[in-house]
Point group: C2
Chain length 725, copies 2
């Protein structure tokens, strides 16, 4: 995998697995995403040819959904002189991802008789009309004539991959989600209508195909497949290009997905491949103006950093408040496509700083599922709103293991934190008035019920929880969870104060609707002030939780090989009894709340916890890089940063192929660069930078938005320049 400033390139033979390349070359436009498989190469199983629509889930069991693998609009079959290209020898294979416009490109030559056929495939999802995508197949006969046959179509015979979420059992079932699939040929190509079997959720697709050269064209229709076949005779030196233009719409877009898909196809046919690409290039140029970070001095970092940003943008359903970004974005169905704290804590900061509209969409998703969170709280016999550890198109719990689904309660405070961080960055008080304040009130109420009061100590304990260090077992007074809950309570009190004073009429309505009692906000502050936090005065150390100090020390070096997570070789039941962390916990909170700790406090926590941290979660490296940068530990910062930066591109966890791109790590990489190396924070609504730039980077340049204003930031070892633009 060669990482160039604007291109990711491979010849596909560097020992990389095919699944790995397919994850890396995943494309997305926020509305939909598709794995980076070569269209004319069939998957080992149709479930691996994955295409997802953001927020498109379907029930697979009562109450439990999976993200639905959509009908395959990339379907292609190429025969050369009668032989399927899959059975022929390919030479000079080259594959590129052009990051400026998110275009994937494959090239290879197939020796044929005395000559060869050169094949080039290009594919992109439109960023200008997100319901469309385009592919172009360019065939050139070199040295000899060739008979080419290219079938392009829509294929509804897809399945979902087995779900691997249960710690106690394996699953090998390729579930069929689709019920009825209707495919039909049209003058331009074909169309397909598929409907899921449980909830009748529909997807409509259409395609048009045309050939630049002379070709015999025929329709193909069989079962759940509709296609067009082009038979092309190429004389030596001749070439032909076949364009396949695709449109996609679904039940989420309105009542008539077929009509919507038809309209979108009209756009595609009007503009053609080149026109669509021009539009998409323009759209991406606008996005890159917002999100690009220019590094000088290190091309590989530059390319990889852009890759991290690109994949985040590709996954973000900007403008759609009914979807968020899953733990693998739209690049894989792992974790049933669900949304975790990953979105609120790890990814949102980049959007809040660079694409506030996209950040707001992520929070709107939380607001749109607030009703479900209130109902979830009720089911847990609690007041207020309880967000679910894993959620999907509804806010109801999709996590099927008790210890996380029931105990990892910090998710509720994470959502509150994200509201606070977004509002602090953007100054978007209207959001606070219309959505944020209500969420903060309801989440604060949850905490009043979730803490247990101990009269002897006059303290509130948080019992039976799991913190971000998921190897902590089920424990009590987890530092991260307790402090985040206290932050949530304080944010709620502040929000009430702000809305009350700035928008008194809105507050009156909200107060009545939520039945806010007099003194309720004061009770939140009282609780926040009396939460139990474990501090070892002798060592000047914040303790992770009530059980951590009782755990058995582990010689990590003797057990962990490379970056392979220990949970692959040691059971969770055993791991929870070792004094090791899966990922930062106390340090995680310190990363989010730098203002609350002195540098010495942070350093002591780092010295105690960092050597015990296994980094068995991809959420770990970027946060450690950020903290190491803040602490001025350049070597550690660079080494952690590279793990995070290249996490997928170098397959650090050995699971990018089998699970997709790790979206939280993309966000953590961004935070390590911007909050860590560049030292960005804000004071009084204006950005400030106290950089900790590593030697290998000469300078960093980016734009950001803060309280409605746009700034250009330029940082070098010599100076920091922040200019409003």
């Amino acid at each position: 995998m060669r990482i160039l400033p604007w291109v990711i390139e491979t010849d596909g033979d560097a020992g990389e697995g095919r699944e790995f390349r397919e994850s890396i070359f995943s494309l997305g436009n926020g509305y939909m995403g598709t794995r980076g498989f070569r269209p004319e190469q069939p998957g080992e199983h149709m479930a691996w040819r994955s295409t997802f629509i953001a927020g498109f889930f379907e029930y697979i069991r009562p109450g439990i959904t999976d993200m639905v693998n959509q009908p395959d609009f990339s379907s292609a079959e190429l025969r050369l002189n009668g032989a399927p290209v899959t059975e022929l020898e390919l030479r000079g294979r080259r594959q590129r991802l052009h990051m400026d416009c998110a275009l994937a490109e494959w090239e290879y030559s197939v020796p044929m008789g005395g000559g060869a056929v050169h094949v080039r495939v290009e594919k992109f999802l439109s960023m200008a009309n997100r319901h469309t995508a385009a592919m172009r197949f360019t065939l050139r006969a070199e040295g000899a004539a060739a008979d080419c046959s290219l079938s392009l179509g829509l294929d509804g015979a897809v399945r979902n991959l087995p779900i691997a979420d249960n710690q106690m059992q394996e699953n090998t079932e390729f579930a069929r989600i689709w019920g009825e699939v209707r495919a039909e040929a049209t003058a331009a190509g074909g169309r397909l209508h598929a409907s899921t079997s449980v909830s009748s959720r529909a997807t409509a697709m259409a395609f048009a195909a045309r050939c630049t050269g002379e070709a015999e064209r025929s329709d193909e229709l069989r079962g759940e497949y509709v296609g067009s076949r082009f038979d092309i005779h190429l004389r030596p030196g001749e070439s032909a290009a076949v364009e396949k233009l695709v449109s996609v719409a679904c039940f989420r877009d309105g009542a008539e997905p077929d009509a919507l898909a038809g309209e979108a196809l009209d756009y595609a046919r009007q503009r053609g491949f080149e026109g669509m690409l021009e539009d998409t290039r323009r759209a991406w140029a606008g996005i890159w103006r917002d999100v690009d970070i220019e590094l000088t001095g290190c091309d590989e970092w530059q390319g990889a950093l852009r890759y991290n940003i690109l994949q985040l943008v590709q996954s973000a359903p900007e403008g759609d408040g009914r979807a968020s970004i899953g733990a693998r974005g739209l690049t894989h169905g792992r974790y049933k496509g669900c949304y975790f704290w990953d979105a609120d804590i790890f990814m949102l900061p980049m959007f809040a700083c660079m694409r506030p509209r996209a950040a707001r969409s992520l929070l709107e998703y939380r607001y749109n599922t607030l009703g479900d969170a209130v109902e979830s709280a009720r089911r847990f016999s609690a007041k207020g709103a309880r967000y679910s550890w894993m959620s999907a198109d509804t806010g109801f719990e999709q996590c099927e293991t008790w210890d996380t689904g029931c105990c990892e309660v910090h998710i509720t405070a994470d959502v509150a934190y994200a509201i606070g961080a977004y509002c602090a960055q953007t100054g978007d008080v209207e959001f606070l008035r219309d959505c944020g304040c209500e969420m903060l009130v309801q989440t604060a109420r949850y905490w009043t019920d979730r803490f247990s009061y101990c009269p002897e100590e006059d303290r509130y304990h948080l019992l039976f929880v799991k913190g971000p260090d998921e190897y902590c077992g089920v424990t009590s007074d987890d530092f991260y969870s307790v402090r985040m809950a206290a932050h949530n309570l304080r944010l709620a009190a502040e929000a009430v104060e702000l809305v009350k004073s700035r928008f008194p009429q809105s507050w009156e309505r909200l107060e009545a609707r939520l039945g806010v009692c007099p003194g309720e906000a004061e009770s939140w502050l009282e609780l926040a002030g009396k939460t139990a936090q474990l501090y070892d005065g002798e060592r000047g150390l914040w303790l992770q939780d009530a059980t951590f100090e009782y755990l058995e020390p582990l010689d990590i070096k003797a057990h962990k090989t490379g970056d392979v997570p220990l949970y692959r070789s040691i059971s969770f039941d055993r791991l929870q009894r070792y004094k090791v962390l899966k990922q930062p916990a106390v340090l995680m909170y310190m990363a989010l709340m730098p203002g609350e700790f002195s540098r010495d406090e942070l350093r002591r926590a780092w010295d105690y916890y960092e050597p015990k941290t296994l980094h068995d979660s991809t959420l770990s490296y970027g946060i450690h890089a950020l903290l190491a940068a803040r602490l001025g530990l350049e070597d550690r910062a660079v080494s952690y940063f590279e793990k995070s930066l290249f996490l997928d591109l170098r397959d650090v966890m050995s699971n990018t192929g089998s699970e997709g791109v790790h979206t939280a790590s993309l966000g953590a990489t961004w935070q390590a660069m911007v909050f860590g190396f560049c030292g960005l924070s804000q004071r009084g609504g204006r950005p400030v930078c106290e950089p900790n730039l590593p030697a290998r980077v000469d300078s960093v340049k980016f734009h950001l938005r803060c309280h409605g204003r746009r700034y250009r930031v330029e940082i070098s070892h010599e100076r920091v320049e922040i200019t409003e633009v």
Copy 2:
């Protein structure tokens, strides 16, 4: 429900639900069990017509099994003058369970023209040949002639009930477990061969039917059903009886279940209904000689106590070491038919005292799954053997929720306790030599790995466990689990000592096979002596666990209505934070180990925990009755005993109908009577009794076995007589 000394009787109209009656009238002979539905009354769903074979499970998901609802051998359809009896008015309904021979009987009259048809149905499972069962339908025309048509057959179109084990989601799926079902008519009746779809596990059934009077007979064969139809014209005053004799065999019995079912049917046909009943009556008489407890002064207690014992015996796979007794025996598929500590701790004592062979079978089941327990330990990264909270035909974990399946580790010590209790009662050192010692060594090894050493305290902590009070959350140093584990460790050391000295050659082989290290047994004793146990010296109180004292007090009276468990209205997540117990925990250990605590210690624990106990588990009442009796709290003892004694007969938990008979409660009832009221224990291998007989019982008489000898025990308020017989 009228409870007579040897008969349970109902007219079926006392507001009881039909499902409730079907549970109460369940029949079993250890090999198989069938719910007490009236044969000629179809279930609302075929899944409710349940017949189970002990130990017959099949996979429903990878690694997870369900107890299989067998083809319905009770299938019957009765038409009178052309109308299905289900659509006719039934008068004088009467239903009886004759406990002397476990025969169920139904009677009713159907008004017909000027007269009526009187119907009587009898059904029993043979205790003499456990592969057989018999039914008899007696029809009598009264006052008018009647045309009767009776179809009797075998029906393979059965399904399993939905599984309700997941706390986080509902399930409504009636699973079809059977793949191929072949039914065919024979000269005598018919036969059926069914094979499960995943593992091809086969059941073979055969039936013969004959009519005493004049009848026209025809074969019926449709799909998965084979039957014989009898058309009978009864003149006024005439009667006819139709016998249906059934045989059952399955893959567990050998390679040729069809042949085995054929042989069993030969027996049935030779003996006929009356002959089979005679054989069964004789077999039951032998059993009752061992297990009966005669009470004078209280007929209702007498009948109910016999019912408790009857259901235990009906469920016990005596002589079959590859099955145990599930939490609902063979009366319902609840909990997927799985085996819990219920068998080892609650049911085994009765068998150890009265039917040692049946007790040994239960322990052989644990020995036969020891290999799976060793493999389970390995999967949990632990040494030795780890028994599963729920097990089935294998010893692998069938519990699908983390908090119980992973954390309720006391099950391993419960198995060890049962070995100790069985050997102490029977003096069966051969069992210790051949099975028990190996199990004790391997379970002891598990504990050496499961405790965490704290050097500061020089104590071993048991972290992240759930105790018998399942509302305790996931906690540490649960008193019951810690003390039971210490007992397990000591039992292992004692067993090694005993086998080493009594059977040196056996020990040598075992030592070599298990790789027992020098000093290993001493290390168990060292660990046992240094386990962390929480004691409040000021209050003289053993504390339940590390979190109990932090929980929020709850006004139980304000929340709990009648006997309905609180988990029906409050979530587990909330319940775990209330200072309440689902069932005894500290007291549970004290019940099992009376010798380790002074009466004052017990009394203080009672005074503290009993008022906080919700009895939301059916395992609770009997144990409280036992302890109250020991403490001389007669009123409490009687009131708890009646809850346990009538738990199913009076539907105390409102779920006997929907879930079946609560087998652990049956055993706890027995323990409350024998260990509590009769005060039975043993000294030096001989039984002693220190009774706490309540006023309402005049005398108790029973037989028991101890160290190979048989004793008659007679207890009254005046005297205790224990005589070897």
